[in-house]
């Protein structure tokens, strides 16, 4: 198993490398803290759980995955990450209806706290809800997605995947990389975390959406807004597509799925407008034939979509491992 101090020379030692109890959003992170997590994750990418049997760094620790909103992929990813590290992982599926009103969300937080978990992973349908819970518990909290606000591990795993695909070494940022993010930017926590992460790493980010799905003053986040996908694609080295929620496909936001595809779908013809060899990403689950054509999603070498899923586990392992260093009394992290 790789040494936890493998990146020690590049970052401040001990807790100074990552002085946060929680991971609530990319917005709370400095550039070097993002790079630290990416470098930590890079070593988990190569991790072979069979070979490493018996060296579980998080053995004896309890991680609760509290998901107040339905999720299969992210929950599975966090569960596998925790288990690969040897932690005891418990999943709590809280039906949204029973926790939406009154004090119940706080009560749930206090209940979780009373169970003395070593880390809590939370997903919730309301922006800011994870922070609200984090303020009430005594252990590290990881945001696995809160409303339209942030999904920090997704932003990190996407940056890791890009770095890997471009063969960039540990410690590298994404300076000058041209990235186009297209889709329902307004309602997307993935878009927000990616905008924050990519711009912090120096990428040149464009966002593309129909006006009804473009958040106001998004340029204040350091990105260039586009409504014309062809223009947004020109010269792009990475194209990141966002999932269009079913309920927004027909009606007030978008006339129909096929009209959406007509203007904003990533077809092979459109992809040809991007830089030669441009990489394709999607956080999943995909609406094939709506925001992305199958022939694009399945492009060997250029589509990073399944690599994103694999890296998701590595990023979540890194985040869980780093955030529990204090609980494990690692030197310099108490």
């Amino acid at each position: 198993m790789p040494s936890p101090e493998s990146s020690a020379s590049r970052y401040p030692s001990g807790r100074a490398a990552f002085p946060h109890r929680d991971l609530l959003g990319i917005s709370q992170l400095e550039r070097h803290e993002i790079l630290f997590l990416l470098d930590e994750a890079a070593r988990w990418v190569a991790f072979d759980p069979r070979a490493a049997r018996g060296s579980d760094p998080l053995a004896g620790l309890t991680i609760i995955n509290a998901f107040f909103e339905n999720s299969t992929r992210t929950l599975l990813s966090f569960e596998i990450a925790g288990k690969r590290l040897g932690a005891d992982v418990v999943n709590m599926h809280a039906a949204q209806s029973s926790v939406k009103k009154g004090e119940t969300l706080i009560d749930t937080a206090l209940t979780l706290n009373a169970m003395r978990a070593d880390a809590i992973v939370i997903r919730h349908a309301s922006s800011g809800a994870v922070r609200l819970i984090a303020d009430k518990v005594d252990c590290p909290v990881l945001n696995a997605g809160d409303g339209s606000h942030e999904h920090p591990t997704q932003g990190l795993l996407d940056a890791l995947t890009i770095r890997q695909a471009l063969n960039l070494s540990a410690g590298s940022d994404l300076n000058g990389l041209r990235v186009t993010i297209c889709g329902d930017v307004m309602h997307s926590r993935v878009a927000r975390s990616n905008i924050l992460c990519l711009t912090a790493l120096g990428a040149d980010v464009r966002v593309c959406a129909p006006p009804a799905l473009m958040p106001a003053e998004v340029e204040a986040m350091g990105v260039a807004p586009f409504h014309d996908f062809d223009a947004a694609l020109a010269g792009a080295e990475v194209v990141m597509m966002l999932r269009l929620q079913q309920e927004r496909m027909s009606g007030q936001f978008i006339p129909s799925p096929r009209e959406y595809r007509h203007l904003f779908g990533l077809t092979p013809e459109r992809l040809a407008r991007a830089a030669p060899g441009a990489l394709v990403m999607h956080p999943g689950p995909m609406n094939r034939g709506v925001e992305i054509d199958s022939s694009v999603a399945d492009l060997p070498d250029r589509s990073l979509i399944t690599r994103q899923v694999g890296n998701g586990v590595a990023i979540r392992m890194a985040c869980l491992e780093v955030l529990t260093r204090g609980a494990r009394s690692m030197e310099g992290w108490a």
């Binding site: 969300l105 922006s127 609200l132 409303g147």
Partner: protein, 411 residues
């Protein structure tokens, strides 16, 4: 109740309708002011109060509160509060209006605002004349805007006939939808549902135009954007009988307060941009805004300790109304006389009550105010029923040190 002993307050500085405060005192008899000035003398049976140099000011008249919260009102120097009709059940029935009108006496006068429509649903007119005669001082649309322009016109025409002011909330409801913030950088960063600030101007434009058509008196309880204020300014200039109000939140805070999802800053209308805040300050100075009210709406943790978008809007504002308005005087946006016009004289005139100014014949509603007294707003130590103030931990200056309602000390 037997008549109280006459009251004489001496040794203060009288707040006048215009100009600087003048040294002097005032005398009240049978609940009314009978004399004021530098040469007021106490009668033999009078209760005599030494103001010790404090301002002798009219008691505040708070136009538009959501709860009767006597300790908070008295702390804030408020002796009259116009109650919004949004209770459960709403004030849409004469009996409820009559009950509300008597609920605070004798030491706090509650002026109910009758629900404009049944259940505040914006569809059918409520029994407005019966409620007027039961004690309603004006009519209000409540927290919401009446979306149907036909209903709104008929409401305004009916209220013009009754000579009742219609107090409205000005936000285009379809444009607002489920928004909890003003569209802009902060809402975008936080991922909160937001609506463009133009939602207010659209509502102001329609309501002022319909009021003009109906010849009705319209009071827009909160105007919080540059475009909305410009429309009010223009309507006033062409003679529309429109007045505008605001709460301290919209002249003292911007949507930067939403950072960290602070639900105490979840208000309706939502906090605006810094440019809009500056426009509110300018409108306070140039007379476009007529009333500053507290919007007092105490909310406990069950309503506020929630994710931002799920939390109820509103702030406990009664205690901070006076000091935050006095801060406008200190910062030279307005003078002291205008501050009390905004806090007392204008809302009293709108409600048609003989109060809000210190003059012979007026109700003896008097606040002694130490305008320089410093204190710290502390959400945990509020007099209000709940501590949901967006001004938590803010040092302020100005306190009511004594309060008289009808010549009787109430606080």
């Amino acid at each position: 109740m037997s008549a109280p002993r006459p009251l004489t307050i001496l040794g203060g500085r009288l707040v006048r309708p215009a100009g600087e405060p003048q040294p002097g005192g005032l005398r009240c008899e049978n609940g009314r002011i009978v004399a004021l000035g530098a040469d007021v003398a106490a009668g033999d049976d009078d209760t005599v109060v030494d103001a010790k140099g404090a301002l002798i000011a009219p008691g505040l008249v708070d136009l538009g509160v959501f709860a009767i919260d006597r300790p908070a009102f008295h702390f804030g120097g408020i002796v009259r509060a116009a109650l919004m009709p949004d209770g459960d059940p709403p004030l849409d029935h004469p009996a409820r209006v009559r009950f509300a009108a008597h609920s605070g006496k004798p030491d706090l006068w509650v002026h109910p605002l009758a629900a404009a429509t049944r259940g505040l649903a914006g569809v059918e007119l409520a029994e407005l004349a019966l409620m007027r005669d039961a004690g309603a001082r004006a009519v209000a649309t409540g927290r919401r805007w009446i979306a149907d322009s036909g209903v709104m016109l008929r409401l305004l025409q009916y209220c013009a006939m009754l000579d009742l002011v219609v107090v409205v909330h000005a936000e285009d409801s379809a444009l607002v939808g489920s928004a909890v913030a003003t569209a802009g950088e902060m809402a975008t960063r936080l991922g909160l549902p937001s609506a463009p600030r133009e939602a207010e101007a659209l509502a102001v434009a329609r309501d002022t135009m319909l009021a003009e058509l109906a010849g009705a008196r319209l009071h827009i309880r909160q105007v919080t954007t540059a475009a909305g204020l410009e429309l009010v300014r223009a309507a006033k200039a062409r003679g529309v009988r429109v007045t505008a109000g605001v709460t301290p939140a919209h002249f003292a805070l911007s949507d930067m307060e939403l950072a960290d999802f602070r639900t105490f800053a979840r208000l309706s209308p939502p906090l605006r941009s810094e440019a809009d805040r500056q426009a509110v300050l300018a409108a306070l100075a140039d007379g476009t805004i007529d009333v500053i009210s507290s919007g007092h709406d105490p909310r406990g943790p069950e309503d506020k300790r929630l994710p931002f978008a799920d939390a109820a809007p509103g702030m406990a504002g009664a205690e901070t109304l006076l000091p935050l308005t006095l801060a406008l005087v200190r910062d030279c946006h307005i003078d002291l006389a205008r501050a009390f016009a905004l806090l007392a004289a204008n809302p009293a005139r709108l409600l048609g009550v003989d109060a809000g100014v210190l003059a012979p014949g007026m109700e003896a509603d008097v606040a002694l105010v130490d305008p320089a007294r410093p204190w710290l707003v502390d959400s945990d130590k509020m007099a209000a029923a709940a501590g949901n103030t967006p001004f938590d931990r803010r040092p302020v200056e100005g306190r009511a040190v004594a309060l008289f309602k009808g010549g009787v000390k109430v606080g």
